[in-house]
């Protein structure tokens, strides 16, 4: 069994438990062991791009270094954590001044210089397990189900740092949908923003953005929409005014692998 360091992040311990537990049970079913580092901290939710911000980047570096210290790749599943951690790693590698300031703050046993490989859980499925292999393990395929993948913004951009897929014409989630036996639905808004954290102070804007996304998916005949992001799920469900069901992709994965029921509390 291959072992990876697994960073759940704050929301997966609270409002997004489903995203987390189905990720864990599916990984186990696929022969992957996910080990959480001790005492991890919240990633900060958003990457601060400013070059003169150092303290706000340290918690992500601590997580990256925790994976480095056990010599394992790091897996994230929340889109926001994935975005913050990958952008931090990218800047450590490409911005020497930022890297040296970060290391001055942290005083680690040895400096962290971007050694850790970071996978989003979807990349783990694509690049480590392989979608063809995943398809062979599926026991309850989503046959005939038209499933719309919602990438939003954080999974793909900035593409230079995230390097996950083509940011304008992605396929990783559609390939995932095919692997679990469903039919992917392509729609215009799949990689546009849901409104994100603006829901805190401007419900109208969040409603407008998430409504546009849901209508776009519904217009193309989707039966359901899947996401990797707790905040996208919230906006699409609560702010969009649409009845189209929204699920975490890990829930569908667990169901396809036949490990969903044993998990339900």
């Amino acid at each position: 069994m291959e072992t990876f360091t697994y960073y759940p992040g704050c929301t997966l311990r609270t409002k997004a438990r489903d995203l987390d537990r189905y990720a864990r049970s599916s990984a186990m079913a696929l022969g992957i062991s996910l080990e959480e580092p001790d005492d991890w901290q919240c990633c900060g939710g958003a990457y601060t791009t400013a070059k003169d911000e150092i303290a706000t980047k340290l918690s992500a570096v601590r997580t990256l270094n925790a994976a480095k210290s056990v010599n394992r790749p790091l897996v994230t599943v929340c889109s926001a954590c994935h975005n913050v951690i990958k952008q931090t790693n990218y800047d450590i590698i490409h911005d020497d001044e930022m890297a040296s300031k970060v290391n001055n703050y942290l005083k680690l046993d040895e400096p962290y210089c971007g050694e850790t490989t970071v996978y989003h859980y979807l990349e783990l499925l694509r690049d480590v397990i392989g979608f063809d292999e995943l398809a062979k393990r599926v026991v309850c395929p989503f046959k005939g189900k038209k499933i719309a993948a919602y990438y939003g913004c954080l999974l793909l951009r900035p593409s230079k740092a995230l390097a996950m897929d083509d940011p304008e014409n992605p396929s990783i989630m559609e390939d995932f949908i095919k692997a679990i036996g469903g039919t992917p639905v392509i729609y215009a808004q799949r990689n546009e923003c849901c409104g994100g954290y603006i829901t805190l102070e401007d419900k109208d804007q969040a409603a407008k953005r998430s409504g546009v996304v849901m209508r776009s998916a519904a217009d193309q005949g989707a039966d359901m929409i899947i996401t990797a992001c707790p905040l996208c799920l919230y906006n699409l469900k609560k702010n969009s005014g649409s009845e189209l069901p929204v699920y975490y992709f890990t829930e569908l994965l667990a169901e396809a692998l036949g490990v969903k029921e044993e998990n339900d509390e």
Binding site: T11, A46, T48, C153, P158, C193, G196, I198, L200
Partner: protein
């Protein structure tokens, strides 16, 4: 024009505003376009002009969703979102100029709101 502020924003963002060719792609693709008084392309040329305080006093700095659409879609790799971020930081770093306070948070919560939203807002609005 406040030269020091301009230099601070340029240094903090790491953006070369002179690369902009005014095509407007950033504003055309911005999901917050309708909510903004000044749009991403205006941020870029107003910073070039040194008109930073006007931007700092505009609500537009709190409308950027950090979706990075303008960053990825700019044909000249100008990365306007980084300029917006640097201007917002110049504003909220001033004593007493936080855009949100912890005391305001409880009334914004509901049973489903992910922690991620609150954490992100703190990153964006508070210093």
């Amino acid at each position: 024009m406040n030269k020091n502020l301009k230099e601070q924003v340029l240094r903090s963002s790491g953006v070369n505003v002179l690369k902009c060719m005014r095509c407007g792609k950033c504003s055309g693709t911005c999901p917050s376009y309708d909510e903004m008084e000044y749009h991403p392309h205006q941020f870029v040329y107003m910073v070039e002009r040194g008109d930073i305080e006007t931007l700092m006093n505009s609500k537009s700095i709190y409308k950027c969703l950090t979706c990075f659409a303008c960053v990825d879609r700019c044909p000249r790799n100008v990365e306007p979102a980084k300029v917006v971020e640097a201007v917002r930081l110049a504003a909220v770093r001033q004593q007493g100029n936080n855009h949100m306070t912890p005391a305001q948070i409880p009334e914004m919560l509901d049973d489903d709101l992910p922690q991620q939203a609150v954490v992100t807002a703190f990153r964006k609005y508070i210093k």
